[in-house]
């Protein structure tokens, strides 16, 4: 059941058809209208346009069904807990109404809430409150899940656990998530809604990864490499066939069962260039490449576009190094890839 919306938003209009499963990340600077968009989709805010989930009409010119009829789960930007109730009571709030039994224990365990389940919400710390609110949303039986900055105030370990849970939820239904963190975006997003000052873009992550809205924020670009996974039973290093005889070795984090193709994002800053293949280096991924284009980036840095045969790779190096290596279009060299992020 995919979510389709065609509605007015702050910066104009949004017309998108989100994937039926998987995570859609809504990204944009503070105050650009992310929460407002989420609230409109939920039905807490009215905006002209239409919204459908699968064959169900949430909103169109004639009809408007209330949030409670949309059968959704939401984690608001603030925790919105009932202060006088315990964490568990907050998590279970309203769950007796749904037909399915609530399986909250795996979720509370993963979010490290077990110790706190019987503590009153008002005595929880800020991060604990956010985790309870997230647990409430994730344990609710719902057709779609909306999470507004669900990982704020969490430390790295809890963040990872929460990301795992969100990915699990996204296996069976669409999940929309607002975040300001690029690492979260890369780790989770399959589909993006990018909200800028004058426009709102949406589409697969591959298509939008180097949109100015994103690159302005992080200051550099990403490349996305894709290819079938070739498992190596002898090691946890598996290979991705990038075509043109090149392979990329990664330790896959997500065992994308069923999908043979895997996608990897590479930060342009994590690519270094070398004229010869360094055989005695600890860098594992060294790929033959040809310079396609050189572009000045911010002060003292040069963006280099490389051709790996059948795919493109971007590198960001100092202009000092570019000079030293005498880079120019057509030059054959080797790209050393320091780090990769597997994306969906």
């Amino acid at each position: 059941m995919s979510l389709r919306a065609n509605i007015k938003v702050l910066s104009g209009s949004l017309d998108c058809a989100l994937p039926a499963t998987g995570i859609t990340v809504i990204f944009g600077e503070s105050g650009c209208g992310k929460t407002t968009l989420l609230r409109t989709l939920i039905g807490l805010e009215k905006a002209a346009g239409s919204i459908f989930l699968g064959s169900t009409t949430w909103q169109d010119a004639q009809r408007f069904i209330t949030p409670s009829q949309r059968h959704i789960a939401v984690a608001f930007q603030e925790p919105r807990l009932l202060a006088h109730k315990t964490a568990l009571e907050n998590i279970l709030l309203g769950q007796q109404n749904t037909t399915k039994a609530c399986h909250y224990d795996a979720i509370t365990k993963a979010l490290d809430l077990d110790r706190l389940l019987h503590q009153k919400a008002q005595s929880l710390s800020g991060g604990e409150q956010h985790r309870v609110a997230l647990a409430r949303a994730l344990s609710k039986d719902a057709c779609a899940v909306f999470l507004d900055e669900p990982l704020t105030g969490l430390d790295q370990q809890r963040r990872k656990a929460a990301m795992g849970l969100i990915q699990q939820a996204a296996e069976t239904k669409p999940v929309l998530l607002v975040t300001h963190q690029l690492d979260e975006l890369l780790a989770l997003a399959q589909y993006l809604i990018l909200m800028g000052k004058n426009q709102t873009l949406c589409g697969e992550i591959d298509a939008l990864i180097n949109e100015p809205i994103l690159t302005q924020q992080r200051g550099h670009e990403y490349s996305i490499l894709t290819g079938p996974l070739q498992p190596n039973p002898a090691s946890d290093l598996h290979a991705i066939d990038l075509g043109a005889g090149q392979t990329l070795r990664i330790t896959p984090k997500i065992h994308a069962a069923g999908t043979d193709k895997i996608r990897v994002a590479i930060d342009a800053r994590d690519v270094s260039l070398s004229l010869s293949r360094a055989e005695d280096s600890s860098i594992m991924n060294i790929l033959a490449a040809k310079v396609v284009e050189l572009q000045p980036a911010h002060e003292g840095a040069i963006k280099v576009t490389l051709n790996l045969g059948s795919q493109l790779l971007r590198a960001l190096i100092s202009s000092h190094s570019a000079q030293k290596l005498a880079l120019k279009p057509g030059l054959a060299l080797f790209a050393q890839i320091k780090a990769t992020v597997q994306i969906r």
């Binding site: 409670s68 939401v74 109730k85």
Partner: protein
Amino acid sequence: MPLPAASVQAILLTLELAFISTLLLLILATPLAWWLQKSHAWYARVTEIIVALPLVLPPTVIGFYLLIAFSPNHWLGAQWLAITGQTLAFSFTGLVLGSMIYSLPFVVQPLQSAFAQLDKGLLEMAQVQQLNLAQQFRHIIFPLCKRGFIGAAVLGFAHTMGEFGVVLMIGGNLPNETQVASIAIFDAVESLNYSAAHQLSLVMLAIAVAALLTLYWRKGAAR
């Protein structure tokens, strides 16, 4: 010195009247206050003013109009007489009706205040969690507006207990029927029966202190 039976009667009658009126008022005022708080319609505003009228009208005005409405020459009084064979004036039912009108704004007002201060974010959350109205009331509205409900009940009860003008006008000082404590004390003082007046007053005082102690003890425990 044991309390005379008449005094006991008067006190019990007062408590009964205040209790029944407050209970009925809470049942009536909760949805009313909710609607008044939520609705933006003009007729909600008109209703708000009608509900608030007893606030600013002296009880004797209310008593006067009730007396007229209760009289068999008027529709209400005539209907009542036809159905029950009794006049509404000078009856306990009449007093309950009068008390309710008299105390309604004292119950609606604290509730409306409490509802206005309710965190809208939590109500949105409740909607998303698919709580029905009863569950919203039980889990959110009531616990968060508890002080408002306590205030409404206390003020409603107190105002009814203290009701004197209306009772004096539509009650008629009938022992065990409409002679509530305030009237009985007035009566005792008027009959120069100062010891009875003192006694009744002290009993009312004791009941008051006991009631308040219970209330505050519970409130303290809940803190």
